[in-house]
Amino acid sequence: MSGRLESPDIALSDVSVGYGERTVLSGVTTVLPGGKVSVILGGSGCGKSTLLRNIIGLVPIQGGRIVLGGHDMAGISEAERLDVRRRMGVLFQDGALLGSLRLGENIALPLREHTELTDSLIEEIVRLKLRLVGLADFMDYFPSELSGGMRKRAGLARAMALDPAVLLCDEPTSGLDPITAADMDQLILELRATFDMTIVVVTHDLESLYAIADHVVVLSAGRMLFEGPLKQLAASDDPFIHQFLARQPSRESRILGESWSAMVESRRISATGGA
């Protein structure tokens, strides 16, 4: 049904990322190792989701090279790019299920497009994929009838439809309650263990980071601050990484907090007449 990529490593060398003329991230050089879960970590707006879209090939990079499974994504033809894409599954932030199709039809879509399987076989595969994410009873539901967590799991089932070699997840736990988020983390770990996939997760969720990461890339202020195994992350002497891992508020927020305290204090004084 779907072949494996030659090598499921994803190599980024000196990658620059941006929107139009504006560069938001530059000099990203790392290898996201095959068969492992790599987590791209960073604050909001640091360009991590855009980097993921660059890896997928939805947005062209401003500079550098991305080599996915031995294919230089910039130097391949459109047909080859489609072929590589077919071997990667992507979980979008909100699942990105097609609202006009039922859950079963959503998951069947890549199978109908890329295989010549019979309808009954496709239905069997769809049931299997939905069972994998715990949604076997929801095949005939529309995405709008599901909760946010269910939609993400369904998105994962669709990403898995063609048995990809690489799975890319954009904020898989954002907006989920802690239990559902932990379930999602568990699901990602099970996928890695069962299918020996290369998994790349973009997140700013520290709980998720500690639960699933083998390899970590930290991005901030337009550059890559760290890349390496999770156990080396805590040893980093970068102040942003310390602040991020300790969940400390930013300087601006502390100044704002101080000014709020000062305002409350001045009101108290004026209300009591300084007494």
Partner: protein, 247 residues
């Protein structure tokens, strides 16, 4: 972007016309469902409006033609106006408001909720999946609905003329059969096919341009309807001039 969409549509047409490798069954099913939605579901509103316009034209024609004692020519005016001009224009105005606006809203919402990106990642061409079925539906159904609108309008005008204006039904329909030619009918149908294609391309193009949340869906939908109407009028002028030159 607009040129890219047109090129993609031509590529889709090329694919659809390959007899040795027919389109995937699920895509054919999408086209059939669009044909039903654009065509059958528009029938009621097109019928009501065509009937009203047929009656209005008979009344307007009667006011003028009565003065010169040429009441039998009411049929000519109703038939000719409907078949060559008002039938295609009104039908496609309805399609622009009903189907074109829905196309834009659907694609714009899909763009914003990353559904179009998801299609691209799955290796499914968004133009082939989303636009082509709409394009076929509009190119086929706009002329068919126009034929229906012409028939309903002429019949309503005839019934009204015989009941309220004292014009014999036999005279009315004889006049229509005698004066309206195949060329008149074809000029209306070519117009409506052109309008249908223009509505689809503009509506889908506007949908793909959506970027900034729910407000942009509304803006794009409004722009699609306004631009469709503007382009329809320009095309109408073009086709009518062409028809006049090569009469």
């Amino acid at each position: 972007m607009l040129v890219g969409l047109a090129v993609d549509l031509m590529r889709c047409a090329g694919r659809a016309l390959r007899p040795w490798r027919p389109e995937k069954p699920y895509l054919r099913a999408r086209t059939v469902s669009h044909l039903a939605w654009v065509g059958a579901d528009s029938l009621a509103i097109v019928s009501v409006i065509a009937a009203c316009v047929g009656i209005i034209l008979s009344l307007q024609a009667a006011i003028q033609l009565e003065k010169v004692g040429a009441m039998s020519y009411v049929a000519n005016l109703v038939g000719f106006s409907l078949v060559t001009e008002l039938g295609p224009l009104l039908t496609c105005l309805i399609l622009s408001g009903r189907a074109g606006a829905a196309f834009t809203a659907e694609i714009a919402t899909m763009r914003i909720s990353e559904e179009i990106d998801a299609l691209a990642v799955m290796g499914i061409d968004p133009v082939r999946f989303l636009v082509w079925p709409k394009f076929v539906a509009m190119a086929v159904m706009a002329p068919l609905l126009t034929i229906w609108a012409d028939a309903v309008g002429i019949t309503a005008g005839g019934i009204f003329s015989s009941l309220a204006l004292g014009l014999s039904g036999k005279v009315y329909f004889n006049q229509i059969a005698y004066f309206l030619g195949f060329r008149d009918l074809m000029s209306g149908l070519v117009k409506s096919a052109g309008f249908g294609v223009a509505i689809t391309v503009i509506s889908c193009w506007q949908g793909f341009l959506a970027r900034e949340g729910a407000a942009d869906v509304g803006r794009r939908t409004t722009a699609a309807v306004v631009q469709s109407i503007f382009v329809m009028i320009l095309l109408d002028l073009f086709f009518t001039a062409l028809n006049y030159i090569f009469r």
